[in-house]
């Protein structure tokens, strides 16, 4: 009888935890906001008076329907300008059932296509226009408790260059090239590099950082991140070792000994404008050297005392 009761108790417990787990998972899933956008960025070089269109896909990957508001916002080096003034009328949506700042319902698991049209008039100033297509979720109505409601915004940058010739002045300057002059052999190498866009149109820095040492050399590709007109931006390398500290251009643990040379080579996009800069540093195991020296002094002193 006792055994039967125990079995019953265990069975009920298992069923209870199973139901609780299912309920918990449902609850957790129901609360998520999840959106996807494609393409994640649009780059357009266009002549005044010409027209071009691009299809965007926005998907609700969350487990609830959401009310979305499509917005065209200004983009600068600090990000999206939330309270953008009225922007260009030549950037519009072709969908007949959608327009900017008008909410629409996107059920869960559904993808909505939007068609963006760019049609700069002939008199449009020839320069770069940085905008973003942003979709914002409308928070759910508040419940009867103290709470923070969340609103999710997902944006796709639109980088437009209006030019009648396509001949654009691209220029850059390395404003920071921070390489230590002297490091301990056991310390990681940390390099910080900033690049400023001094031209009239945005570019991506395409190139690598080369480390040349006494017995060999290594090369690390730079991520081709966008640098807007007037923007100064830190560059990063595609290095797994860089992952724990992405605030540094290159962080490379290892053992260094002797003279090393760090060289930065990059082009503006995949063009012919090439920039290069290099610096030299030296590595010695000075921390271990000091410890050994102090140890030797202690041993010598102890030896002298023993002799006395």
């Amino acid at each position: 009888m006792k055994f039967k009761n125990s079995l019953l108790f265990i069975s009920f417990s298992v069923i209870f935890y199973f139901l609780f787990f299912i309920f918990y998972l449902r609850q957790a899933k129901a609360q998520s906001l999840s959106l996807s956008i494609s393409p994640p960025i649009l780059e357009v070089l266009i002549k005044p008076g010409k027209s071009v269109t691009q299809v965007y896909k926005i998907t609700n990957d969350g487990s609830d329907a959401v009310i979305l508001i499509p917005k065209l916002l200004e983009l600068n080096e600090l990000g999206i300008r939330e309270n953008s003034p009225a922007l260009e009328k030549w950037i519009s949506l072709l969908n007949t059932d959608l327009s900017f700042n008008q909410p629409f319902l996107l059920p869960k698991g559904i993808t909505k296509q939007l068609i963006l049209r760019l049609n700069p008039p002939s008199a449009t100033s020839e320069k770069d226009y940085y905008r973003a297509l942003v979709f914002s979720t409308k928070p759910n109505p508040p419940a009867d408790s103290s709470q923070s409601q969340l609103s999710q915004n997902i944006g796709s940058p639109i980088l437009i260059t209006v030019s009648s010739t396509g001949l654009l002045t691209k220029a850059a300057q390395v404003t920071k090239f921070k390489v230590p002059q002297f490091i301990d052999s056991f310390d990681p190498l940390s390099i910080d590099i900033d690049i400023k866009n001094t031209g009239n149109t945005y570019f991506r820095s395409v190139g690598n950082i080369t480390l040349t040492g006494p017995i060999g050399k290594g090369s690390f590709n730079i991520f081709p991140n966008v640098i807007l007109v007037g923007q100064t931006r830190k560059i990063f390398v595609e290095s797994a070792e860089n992952l724990p500290e992405p605030q540094t251009t290159l962080r490379l643990p290892g053992f260094y000994l002797g003279k090393y040379k760090v060289t930065l080579d990059f082009t503006l996009d995949q063009g012919t404008i090439k920039l290069s800069q290099s610096a030299t540093f030296y590595a010695l195991p000075w921390k271990a050297g000091i410890i050994i020296l102090l140890g030797l002094i202690v041993i010598l002193k102890l030896g002298k005392r023993k002799k006395k």
Binding site: S32, S148, S156
Partner: protein, 226 residues
């Protein structure tokens, strides 16, 4: 092959009208024993700019053609329950980013206003523990005393600001009501990453805090490819 020419024509449906657009209809890499071709139908090379009048790319050299940028925030509402004086309440929000083939992303956050009731009572945004360095929305500082009141957050994750590395370091949210811009809470220059971060919200009220339901809206903004 069939992909060598770009086609432009007017298309109509009930929902939209396209006038001779240049659309990414297909894209990808194709290969056989004799050739390897990367193409994006409808895209043009720089040399055609003069005749066509535009070049359109979905990212650097169409590196993002077909790529998807995803952003998740869980949960969608943070319920603080019943707030009691000098008993801090902490709740977490999980943020996930997946950026596909385009390098770089940013995630920013702001609040519309401090936590407030409809009658106008507010829980102030935290300035953290009293000391020489009060926290601001751009600089975290220690908040561990139960006698320090307010509303703030801290971040944990691989790509969050470094000032959150120390334990119990918090910041207040920038408020759009005060005209403050959203602040960066996640950033990476990498591509093909799936990054996660955890935001911990903290509320602590004083004995003099009026009774009521305090509410605000937190806005999370993610952008990829830049």
């Amino acid at each position: 092959m069939g992909a060598g020419t770009a086609s432009a024509q007017d298309m109509n449906s009930q929902n939209f009208k396209i006038e001779g657009g240049n659309l990414n209809m297909t894209s990808g890499n194709k290969a056989s024993q004799n050739y390897k071709l990367s193409d994006v139908v409808g895209q043009t090379t720089a040399g055609l700019f003069a005749s066509k009048g535009y070049i359109i790319q979905s990212g650097f050299l169409n590196g993002a053609a077909g790529a998807v940028f995803s952003f998740s925030v869980t949960p969608s509402v943070v319920d603080f329950g019943t707030l009691s004086p000098k008993i801090p309440v902490e709740k977490t929000i999980r943020i996930t980013i997946s950026n596909g083939n385009m390098p770089g992303y940013t995630v920013r956050v702001s609040e519309n206003q401090p936590l407030a009731t409809t009658a106008g009572a507010e829980i102030p945004d935290t300035v953290c523990d009293e000391g020489k360095n009060p926290c601001t929305y751009s600089n975290a500082s220690e908040w561990s005393k139960n006698s320090t009141f307010g509303f703030g957050f801290r971040m944990a994750g691989r790509t969050v600001p470094v000032d959150f590395a120390k334990i119990n370091f918090y910041r207040p949210f920038p408020a759009t009501r005060r005209g403050e811009q959203s602040i960066l809470i996640m950033q990476s220059g990498a591509k093909k990453v799936v990054d996660q971060a955890t935001m911990t919200l903290k509320v602590n009220i004083s004995k003099t805090q009026p009774v009521g339901q305090y509410k605000n809206v937190l806005s999370f903004t993610a952008m990829g490819g830049i």
